[in-house]
């Protein structure tokens, strides 16, 4: 494998996480009918473009896609961490800009009643950041 392509595997893994997270979010919202809260929307806004940006980067073996993915991954990660803090009551509900579509701290934001959706989101964004970091190092190497 040429050295220039060594970043492909971590980039693919990051893209796959974004793809699965996007499919999962759409499944929860459109199929299961769970209305996304405001914070969920901000995380969606950060997650959905990652599928396109990283996907195109993979098709063209374009390492620069990492650069364009960074801001989305960081923004989404920040939102997800904040959402987790809201969910577990670290940040009080009064500070949260939640309008229609359910409270962001609601117990309903759980998959199968066990895993909180904001935690899944935080794990996904953390994974994407880590993989992008690895891919970036291999591009420079």
């Amino acid at each position: 494998m040429p050295a220039a392509q060594r970043h492909w595997a971590p980039l693919f893994a990051a893209w796959l996480i974004a793809l699965l997270a996007t499919a999962g979010a759409l499944f929860l919202g459109e199929v299961m009918g769970m209305a996304p809260c405001v914070l969920c929307w901000y995380q969606r806004i950060a997650m959905f473009p990652l599928v396109v940006i990283l996907g195109l980067g993979l098709l063209d073996a374009d390492g620069r896609s990492i650069r364009y993915a960074w801001p989305f991954a960081w923004a989404g990660w920040g939102m997800a961490v904040y959402h987790c803090a809201v969910f577990w009551g670290v940040v009080t509900e009064g500070l949260v800009p939640c309008g229609k579509g359910g409270s962001c701290a609601d117990a309903e934001v759980q998959v199968a009643g066990i895993v909180p959706i904001p935690l899944l989101s935080a794990i996904a964004f953390t994974g994407i950041l880590a993989l992008l970091w690895i891919a970036n190092r291999r591009v420079k190497a």
């Binding site: 693919f12 893209w15 699965l20 499919a23 499944f27 009918g33 098709l59 229609k100």
Partner: protein, 218 residues
């Protein structure tokens, strides 16, 4: 294998899994809703529910209706046409499903108008003026009073009725039945007890036609 194909194959796999999951989930949900409709069939129509059309009609459309819901507004003329063009075979029973902000107040005003025999005119006025009083985030259902002011109602009595325990009781019954039947969005249609799962105009017409054929040829 070329790397591009791995990407394409992954997308296809996820899309296929998504569709398969959606079909399984919707199928299970349909089963649950049908079961809820069967085991709670007495919750579909109450003696106190408003009826449009001939009460003895053999086909009954039950509509869970929210006066603040845009889709309910869009469906109203259609449902009315179905009843009117059925030659007495179809009737409409309205159940109130106040899922929007301010809908509960709107329903109480409509119920108060019903006590004076002006339910359907009041519904039509409320729907016509819906964009004004049911704006999202700024619901002002009390504006309906102005919309129905010229229906010849005893307005003092109507305002008292709207706040009465009897009307509150009717609304509470509608909400309880809505929950028992797992209606979580409006309009929610049942035709002779069969829930309309695949939502749409044509689908509603088809379901009604199917039930008409059933009662014609037993």
């Amino acid at each position: 294998m070329k790397k591009q194909w791995i990407v394409v194959a992954s997308v296809v796999a996820v899309v296929v899994a998504f569709i398969a999951g959606a079909i399984v989930f919707k199928g299970r949900e349909t089963q649950q809703v049908s079961q809820a409709a069967q085991s709670n069939s007495d919750a579909l129509v109450r003696a106190s529910s408003p009826v449009f059309g001939i009460p003895a009609a053999k086909v009954t459309i039950v509509e869970f209706f929210d006066p603040a819901c845009e889709t309910c507004r869009a469906f109203y003329p259609l449902v009315k046409t179905i009843v009117n063009s059925s030659f007495g075979q179809v009737r409409l029973v309205v159940r109130h499903a106040p899922l929007h902000e301010g809908s509960d107040t709107a329903v109480k005003i409509l119920e108060a108008a019903r006590l004076q025999g002006q339910y359907w005119p009041a519904v039509e006025r409320a729907l016509a003026g819906q964009p004004r009083w049911a704006a999202h985030g700024n619901a002002r259902p009390e504006l309906i009073w102005d919309l129905i002011a010229d229906l010849g109602l005893d307005m003092a009595k109507a305002r008292a009725d709207a706040d009465s325990p009897a009307v509150a009781q009717l609304l509470a019954q509608d909400i309880a039945d809505m929950k028992a039947l797992k209606v979580d969005r409006t309009p929610g249609f049942f035709v002779n007890g069969t829930p309309l799962r695949d939502f749409g105009e044509a689908q509603l017409r088809a379901l009604v036609d199917q039930e008409i054929r059933k009662v014609k040829a037993p």
